[in-house]
């Protein structure tokens, strides 16, 4: 193989011998235990969208499973043990991201029939027990956690570690179990997590996007979600972009089946964000 050929191919995929046939391989890193996004059984919506892309590229998917914690990108994509990571914020620093394939927001999840919350400014928030996800002590938590503390709502807020207990299935989902059990009255969670588990807790739950959607300039409640490649892997980025565009209807159907709350439906799925 001459090097000029490798230059294109190595960026995107490896050539492997599979039963004597040259099959392209799409090397993907994902969390093995984090539904609705991904799991080792391939049941997450990111798994299903990745499969569509692989079909488009005529490639077979090969996963490297890695818990999405601190150092995830450093140990996976940047360590070159895979070439594609689904489900990251668009324009994330340090990687190259595709055009977004969905835009979602944080949501209020409540028990149906109980007090319904639609805004951080709802006075009812002061009289209910609120669950939020916590990230860590590096000065950042989820935007809803900040939005509540900005309003002085701290005493009735309960924190749930986003990492959870990794021995359990889907550790971030414990907050919705607590809501179903009545331990809290409102869970403020990232949309896809809320939409998916609200259907699976055995108790009728109501999902509402949070308002305001921008709680001050630095606290966006909505994010565009893209796939990411290494910074120097423009070839693969363009291929994945094109595949996402061509399979748009199926991507939309998968997101709908998983009840991902979307802010971008009806918008033109035009070119990439700059």
């Amino acid at each position: 193989m001459c090097s000029s050929f490798l230059k294109g191919a190595a960026l995107a995929a490896l050539l492997v011998m599979a039963g004597g046939v040259h099959a392209r391989e799409l090397r993907v890193c994902a969390d093995p235990n984090n539904l609705p996004f991904s799991n080792e059984a391939g049941e997450g919506f990111e798994n299903k969208i990745v499969s569509l892309i692989a079909q488009e590229l005529g490639a077979e998917v090969r996963y490297t499973w890695w818990a999405q914690r601190r150092g995830f990108l450093r140990n996976t994509l940047k360590a070159e043990i895979c070439d594609l990571v689904p489900g990251l914020p668009a324009n994330l620093e340090g990687v190259r991201t595709t055009a977004p394939y969905y835009r979602s927001s944080y949501v209020f999840v409540t028990r149906t029939g109980g007090p319904e919350i639609q805004s951080f400014n709802d006075p009812a928030l002061r009289a209910v027990r609120i669950g939020v996800h916590l990230i860590g002590d590096d000065g950042s938590n989820t935007p809803p956690a900040h939005a509540l503390s900005r309003r002085g709502i701290v005493e009735n807020v309960r924190g749930f570690m986003i990492y959870g207990d990794y021995n359990e299935p889907d550790p971030p989902a414990r907050i919705l179990r607590a809501l179903a059990n009545g331990d809290i009255d409102v869970a403020v969670v990232w949309g896809p997590l809320g939409g998916y588990f609200a259907e699976r807790e055995g108790v009728p739950l109501t999902v509402n996007p949070v308002r305001p959607i921008f709680d001050g300039p630095q606290l966006p409640m909505a994010f565009d979600i893209s796939m990411a490649v290494r910074k120097d892997d423009e070839t693969l980025r363009q291929e994945v972009d094109a595949a996402l565009a061509r399979r748009r209807p199926e991507v939309d159907a998968i997101l709908a089946a998983f009840r991902v709350p979307r802010l971008d439906t009806g918008m033109k799925q035009a070119g990439r964000t700059p």
Binding site: N34, A67, R70, L92, D137, G139, S140, V154, M161, Y166
Partner: protein
């Protein structure tokens, strides 16, 4: 350096003056190691702290200010792991013990044979997933020796006891679960028949604790949490804190919002000291987590402070909080050095502590009273410590908050100095502090994510402090409360210090220079360039041949060196929580490593 000699002359002239002052002038005898730490030198180095007072001082003097220039390499040894080496080489009898970072392999080297060949190695085989949980490189701060056993912690939160002669495992106890973010990096301390250890993982919402294990069986004897109800914290009738703000029922609950103490941090991953005469164990507690400051109104007891406990029961005796309601990630886990000194004409048993906060604390170790807190780092984030209340005074303008760019926060998140321990010379009465000189800008703008949840991440950029250098090695006069001399270093100092009776003090730099300096003047008497940056703890011993040796591990890494050991992208200045911005050039001067260097005179 020019001013150093002048300062020394001044100090000597002050000592020669007749005693006439009621102020804390150096008219009284200089600080000294307590009797339990001033024992005859046996030539060994059996625990990282050297002694219970944590002075890291050796009475060996064959290597001195005259002879040190002739130091040469005696032998080297690869740890086989190219990650940050923060451990201390131990020497017991004719054997040296070296512990690697994850996977925490313990090596025994035979000092009685030429080239110190390996006697055995012991591999505890920690879970690989632990690497994904550790916050800042996969370091370990050293093994400890007691009762014929080498005891150490593993990254996956086990404590192991190994037969020091044969390398056979005696017991192995699991104390934490990496699936819940719990890891271990600290060096244990053995007190009587108990192994004292603590847990790391404040970033993951771990509720910090310290625990005592039976040295013979590895079974837990007592466990004290650092947040929550008094019963869990082991606060009872014998708890007598000095300051009023530490008095009251269940402050570990009431100084937090509703249930926030349940994930409150206050981990124990730093240094332990012990006073056998007072029968008190001293340990620091980590910063409060995982809530941001404005989400956890209150003092957030008992995080970011110092506990004195009864080692037999774990019962707390006193507590002092260096950073109530911590705003800056200032774990209070740095070394706690126990000394005896005259203070305003009275002999006091003190605990000396160069804190993350930028203050050098002198605390009465019997009561927890702060006698003095003097800055040893450029400060903008804090203005002082009120000695009446013991409370640190924060500068509200430098508080990191969302929606605001805050510039020139000094010191930074790793503090004025981090975990790497100082040394106290029993001869000069001076403290030798390897520390930092850094400031940071803080804003929150970049999108980030974790476990599928997007958020706005903190963009922290660290850079050199006043003078343009990032590291300082300072000799500190405890009575005067000021630096006597300082050596400026290009990169932050992340290595420990060692003081000796030869009036030679040792430390290492992140470029890979191992340096010997004059204990009284700071003059660099000898230096040797090793293969990789140094973040380890130097030790010294008398070999079976009767000669004095000095040992150090090289291998850059840790939080400061993650740009090299973790292959971080120098273009991403906010990596490693902002440290990469300051450390961009480190990749140009050092590569990964993991080697033991041992030096001797010809």
């Amino acid at each position: 350096m020019g001013g150093a000699r002048l300062a020394l002359v001044l100090a000597i002239s002050l000592i020669l003056q007749p005693v006439s002052s009621v102020l804390a002038q150096p008219a009284s005898p200089p600080p000294a190691a307590p009797p339990f730490a001033a024992t005859p030198e046996d030539g060994q180095w059996t625990i990282p702290q050297k002694n219970y007072a944590s002075t890291r001082y050796s009475d060996l003097s064959e290597i001195n200010t005259e002879t040190v220039k002739n130091l040469q390499v005696a032998f080297t040894f690869s740890t086989g792991v190219n990650k940050g080496q923060e451990s201390a080489p131990l020497v017991v009898g004719g054997t040296m013990y070296v512990l690697s970072p994850y996977p925490n392999i313990l090596y025994a080297l035979d000092l009685t044979q030429p080239g110190a060949p390996m006697k055995w190695q012991y591999n505890p085989k920690p879970a690989a997933a632990a690497q994904g949980v550790a916050c800042c490189d996969v370091v370990n701060r050293g093994p400890t020796f007691a009762n014929g056993r080498i005891v150490f912690t593993t990254l996956d939160a086990h404590v192991v006891s190994v037969n020091a002669e044969t390398g056979e495992e005696v017991w192995k106890t699991k104390l934490g679960d990496i699936n819940r973010g719990e890891t271990m990096t600290m060096a244990p301390l053995v007190v009587k028949d108990k192994v004292i250890v603590g847990i790391s993982g404040g970033e993951y919402g771990v509720r910090g604790w310290i625990q005592a294990l039976d040295i013979n069986s590895g079974k837990s004897v007592w466990k004290a949490y650092n947040t929550g109800p008094d019963q869990d914290v082991k606060i009872g009738p014998t708890f007598k804190p000095f300051y009023d703000s530490d008095k009251g029922k269940d402050l570990g609950v009431t100084t937090w919002p509703a249930d926030a103490w349940q994930q409150g941090g206050g981990t124990v991953w730093g240094w332990l000291s012990y006073d056998p005469e007072l029968n008190l164990l001293y340990h620091g507690t980590g910063n409060p987590g995982p809530w941001n400051p404005n989400q956890r109104p209150g003092d957030n007891k008992w995080t970011a402070g110092i506990f004195a406990r009864d080692p037999d029961t774990g019962e707390a005796r006193w507590f002092y909080q260096t950073a109530p309601h911590d705003l800056h990630d200032w774990d209070n886990i740095n070394e706690l050095i126990l000394l005896d000194m005259d203070w305003e004409g009275q002999p006091r048993k003190v605990l000396v502590h160069p804190g993350r906060t930028g203050f050098l604390y002198v605390i009465d170790r019997t009561t927890g009273e702060v006698l003095s807190a003097k800055p040893f780092h450029a400060l903008t984030a804090v203005t002082g410590v009120d000695l009446k209340t013991g409370r640190i005074q924060y500068n509200a303008e430098k508080e990191p908050v969302n929606n605001r760019v805050v510039r020139d926060i000094c010191p930074t998140a790793p503090g004025a100095k981090d975990w790497n321990p100082s040394a106290f010379s029993h001869r000069t009465g001076l403290l030798y502090i390897p520390h930092m000189n850094m400031c940071m800008d803080w804003e929150s703008v970049e999108p980030n994510y974790i476990a599928g949840t997007p958020y706005v991440g903190a963009e922290v950029r660290m850079y050199p402090g006043p003078g343009g250098h990032m590291g300082e090695f300072s000799a500190w006069d405890l009575q005067a409360g000021k630096e006597l001399w300082t050596i400026n270093e290009r990169f932050p100092l992340w290595s420990g210090a060692l003081a000796t009776a030869g009036d030679v003090v040792f430390y290492g730099t992140m470029e890979g220079w191992f340096k010997a300096v004059h204990a009284r003047t700071g003059e660099v008497l000898w230096q040797f360039k090793v293969d990789s940056g140094i973040i380890g703890q130097p030790t010294t011993y008398r070999g079976p041949d009767g000669k004095q040796y000095v040992a150090i591990l090289s291998g850059v890494g840790g939080w400061a060196g993650a740009i090299v050991s973790g292959d971080l992208d120098p273009r991403d200045g906010s990596a490693a929580k902002g440290f990469v911005n300051a450390m961009r050039d480190l990749k140009n001067v050092t590569t990964k490593g993991g080697a033991l260097y041992v030096f001797k005179l010809p």
